[in-house]
């Protein structure tokens, strides 16, 4: 039987800070802001009885951000907890609140797969700056992950390296391998950290096709095929990222990452995206690379080439482009002269 604790909160906030903290506090415990404020004024007060150490830790980290500290008072045994009078408030830390507790307050929030999600259960934490994907791979199932992107895993997960379709990947400087993570003898967790700082998107493929920009692939289910596709010379040459696109087709989850924040756009008709900001788009959208205006604006507006989508579908864009980053950083890099 694990040790149980009563959680008592303490703080030295003034009235103004209390009303500010009460908003977050209320959200965290899913109670009315007025009630939270009253509770905060009563501190030090017991806010939860009979919590496990783990639960206490989660509540502790969440409250620490509001300037509230907690102390733990061991409970003798479960019977005592049951016999104890009802706590002042019985806040119920919801799963979402617990998971977002590990992050800064103003992050984009943790994405948790809904219970009726047809693919693998997953969650995306650390959004939107440094999103981190955790997938629970069911027993004897497999998850495909971009080479060297695995950050954590359970010990019953076995890794196998496979060649990924097409030697064209060699030309792009990226790995031509892909890792398969098999959960052996029960479910296993795999944590994936992409290279680029940014957000992460998820789609469930049901026979449809999604095109990804070359370095956007993060992970996918076993029945999703990942192929590298030649874009054609004009499209590829001017599209900023590389000459190749990734074509994902099949049935299952697909995760992709962006550099910067991510915006999802429903296209019906025509839409123009700067070539360096494309992350992914659905099949059925026609696209061509063209200049924005005349030749004068091509050279002087700084926009260069853009991608003109037409048709009906979805486009995911990123709010930063890697070329812009490189142009910005380049003058500061120590460069060794060749030859």
């Amino acid at each position: 039987m694990t040790a149980l604790f009563n959680i008592r909160m303490h703080h030295s906030l003034d009235a103004a800070q209390i009303s500010e903290a009460a908003v977050h506090f209320a959200k965290l415990f899913k109670i009315e802001p007025e009630k939270a404020e009253q509770l905060l004024h009563k501190a030090p007060v017991v806010i939860r009885k009979g919590a496990s150490e783990e639960m206490a830790g989660k509540i502790g980290t969440a409250l620490q951000k509001l300037g509230i500290t907690i102390s733990l008072e061991p409970v003798a045994d479960a019977a005592a907890t049951a016999a104890a009078p009802a706590p002042v408030a019985a806040p119920e830390a919801t799963p979402e609140a617990e998971q977002s507790a590990g992050h800064a307050v103003n992050d984009g929030g943790t994405v948790v797969s809904p219970p009726d999600h047809p693919g693998y259960p997953f969650r995306i934490e650390g959004r939107p700056d440094f999103s981190f994907l955790t997938v629970m791979v069911p027993g004897e199932q497999m998850l495909k992950v971009e080479a060297s992107a695995m950050a954590t895993m359970d010990t019953n997960v076995e890794m196998k390296t496979k060649m990924r379709g097409g030697l064209s990947r060699l030309l792009t400087g990226e790995s031509i391998f892909i890792n398969e993570f098999h959960a052996r003898g029960g479910a296993g967790e795999v944590g994936v950290a992409p290279g680029a700082p940014g957000d992460m998107g998820h789609v469930y493929l049901d026979g449809n096709v999604i095109y990804l920009q070359n370095s956007a692939f993060v992970a996918c289910g076993p029945k999703v095929e990942i192929e590298t596709k030649w874009q054609g010379l004009t499209k590829g040459f001017f599209s900023g990222e590389s000459l190749f696109l990734i074509r994902a087709v099949g049935q299952g989850d697909l995760w992709f990452n962006t550099y910067g924040a991510m915006i999802e756009i429903d296209v019906d008709g025509e839409y123009v995206v700067d070539t360096g900001n494309i992350v992914a788009f659905t099949e059925g959208l026609e696209y061509k690379v063209s200049k924005v205006g005349g030749y004068k604006s091509l050279f002087f507006s700084g926009e260069g080439f853009v991608c003109r989508f037409s048709g009906k579908g979805k486009v995911w864009i990123q709010t930063r482009g890697v070329q812009a980053l490189l142009t910005w950083v380049h003058p500061f890099r120590p460069v060794k002269k060749r030859g």
Binding site: Q64, T152, M159, N179, G195
Partner: protein
């Protein structure tokens, strides 16, 4: 002392309000702004030889800064870490915590910093030959590149090298290959750390290796 971490997970900074008579120790160059009345003193990081050791083996700075409030009212200090990423605070209550080299940012004066031999395993895994032990009473701030996530471990768990930031003293590290020889080499995972025991592990959601392998193919 009142402190608050702001700025989100990408560019965290810590606002510390020092009461009269209080002081705080930070890594050198961590201060980004402060009340003009605060006194700054650069001190050796625990004596000459220890400071040397900490600089070259612990990934810390030779000097640390001591900010003290000699006035009779509250004064504010803002500190930042050199890399983009999240900063976390740990309230020590007589316990201790292991930090990876370079993760330490600041602490209260009542916290003691120690350097401990982490073993060859840790060194081969790219986690450094030594690790920092913080113990005592009070707050410690630490950070790394990426967001920081806490994982409760009970048993065993695998963390890729370069992603470990801090862990409880109850956690042991072991080194192993990510998979067979072929996969470990070509799959880009190489060596991984197997953490064992019961306690918390703090991981960073990005690594400098991941950043360079994303950017490098695009440089020409």
């Amino acid at each position: 002392m009142q402190a608050e971490i702001k700025g989100g997970s990408a560019f965290s900074y810590v606002e510390i309000d020092l009461e009269p008579g209080e002081s705080v120790i930070t890594e050198s160059d961590a201060m980004s702004s402060m009340d003009a009345r605060l006194e700054l003193k650069a001190i050796l990081n625990g004596g000459f030889w220890r400071a040397l050791l900490r600089k070259f083996l612990g990934g810390e700075t030779f000097f640390v800064s001591r900010f003290s409030n000699q006035t009779d009212s509250k004064a504010r200090l803002t500190i930042v870490q050199p890399t983009p990423g999240e900063v976390k605070c740990e309230e020590l209550n007589g316990g201790s915590l292991f930090l990876q080299p370079g993760a330490f940012l600041a602490c209260e004066e009542t916290v003691s910093l120690g350097l401990q031999w982490a073993g060859l395993v840790s060194w081969i895994a790219g986690e450094g030959l030594f690790r920092l032990v913080v113990s005592g009473q009070g707050k410690v701030w630490y950070g790394a590149y990426g967001a920081l996530l806490t994982r409760e471990i009970d048993g065993e768990f695998i963390v890729d090298s370069g992603h470990l930031v801090a862990y409880d003293p109850t956690i042991k590290l072991r080194l192993q290959l990510a998979a067979g020889l072929f996969s470990s080499f070509f799959g880009g995972e190489g060596l991984v750390t197997r953490v064992q025991g019961k306690g918390r592990v703090v991981i960073q959601t990005r690594s400098i290796g991941g950043l360079t392998s994303w950017v490098n193919p695009k440089l020409y």
